[in-house]
Amino acid sequence: MNKRISREELAARIAADIPEGSIVNLGIGAPTLVADYLPRDEEIILHTENGMLGMGPAPEAGWVDPDLINAGKQAVTAVPGAAYFHHADSFGMMRGGHLDVCVLGAFQVAENGDLANWSTGAPGAIPAVGGAMDLAIGAKAVFVMTDLLTKQGESKLVAVCTYPLTGVGCVSRVYTDHAVFDVTADGFAVRDLFGDNTVTELRTITGLDLIDATASVAAGGRP
């Protein structure tokens, strides 16, 4: 029984959906993996909200530049064609809708596209939001990359988020280790199944009334 793909496979799957020429912001954590699977013969421009377009991969050993980091505060490089700018300009770029795609992690995504990814609301936890709320509302397409289930086996796709929201109705599509879901006006639509998952099984796992859009997607349609 093969119900899940690996995080690397998922990153590759997301990368394949990003057209050449896109301006893309990859959130901290798993989404940064997507960069490794972007086709090397295509130009896709990476934005990092701490002030750069044209972010390149990690530097070679010995060439870490403490002045050149990504939003996750990891060392990166600049590709030819890069540009630096200050924080107000960088977030204006996001808020103004100039990014094509951002890929974010999630604790929960609701049927209406609500995203919760910054706080579990646990008492005593130190809150920290960073750029999550800006990213959530700041791209033409907001992709979520996540396991479908928590470690406790609960669905991260939910009818209504119970964790504090990051953004309202902002998610376009959810890439999970089980399947890909589009957020539609009528709820989640299963776009793509991984392994031997079925829509029926996913309905059981998530407890949601999922739309089966696999046929229309296979036929080239877009929900």
Binding site: G51, P66, D67, L68, K73, A75, H86, H87, A128
Partner: protein, 253 residues
């Protein structure tokens, strides 16, 4: 002659009052004005409100200022990091107040202060805990929350180079909050690697015009540069690879 250069970090931070609001540039360690913060620690001002994206890393810079219990409140977007143990401890025992602001709203509120904007409607945070109690309005079918400027008495920032008029150029992503904080404080204090002769900075490439700068101090070239060229050989904290830590050599920037 206009000359905003001062000789020491001590002179640069002189006059910060108890209870002042102090903006501190940097995103994590990048662009954090370590020498100015060290001077502020020595200067002694307390009961400060700090505006900075993060709440300190490790035990140096902003973290050291927090550890001295000189900060009453911090306004930031991302206090919790893998190396933010100083802040974490103070927060958990109730010794520091936190105002959490989404990063883009933080940047825009600082920019608004510098640009004379009274308030602005932003879509970021709407419908979340961080916009609770804020005025909202639907404009062209989208909901926005009203946010107000954040001003400071003093901004401490870091840049690559300055001339005596205070014109600044930065380096890579260490630019981050420097240019906007410079506009939003009654007094802007800058540490740079080195001074440039007036007229040698390209007017097309000056990022912060000197009008926004009050004092500049040169603290020496960052360890990973040599005559302005990147030479590598350090880790992300700026410590020499395979050698002693940068802190032992007088701090990182």
């Amino acid at each position: 002659m206009i000359d905003k250069r001062v000789s020491t970090a001590e002179e640069a931070v002189a006059g910060v009052a108890d209870g002042a609001t102090v903006m501190i540039g940097g995103f994590g360690r990048a662009g954090q004005p370590i020498e100015l913060i060290d001077a502020l620690i020595a200067q002694g001002a307390g009961d400060l409100t700090i505006v900075s994206n993060n709440a300190g890393n490790g035990d140096t810079g902003l973290a050291a200022l927090l550890a001295e219990r000189r900060v009453r409140k911090i306004i930031c977007s991302f206090p919790r990091q893998s190396d933010s143990w100083v802040f974490d401890g103070l927060y958990r025992d109730g010794s520091i107040e936190l105002e959490l602001v989404p990063q883009g709203n933080l940047a825009e509120r600082i920019r608004a202060a510098g640009a004379g904007i009274g308030a602005f409607f932003t879509p970021t945070g709407v419908g979340t805990l961080l916009a609770e109690g804020k005025e909202t309005r639907e404009i062209d079918g989208r909901i926005y929350a009203l946010e107000y400027p954040i001003r400071a008495d003093v901004a401490l920032i870091s840049a690559r180079s300055a001339d005596r008029w205070g014109n600044l150029v930065y380096r890579a992503t260490a630019r981050n909050f420097g240019p906007i904080m410079a506009t939003a404080a009654a007094r802007t204090v800058v540490q740079v690697d080195e001074f440039a002769e007036l007229g040698t900075l390209d007017p097309e490439s000056v990022v912060t015009p000197g009008v926004f700068v009050d004092r500049v101090v040169a603290v020496g070239e960052r360890r990973w540069l040599c005559c302005g060229e990147f030479i590598g050989g350090v880790d992300l904290e700026g410590a020499a690879l395979g050698g002693a830590s940068a802190e032992q050599h007088g701090g990182v920037r």
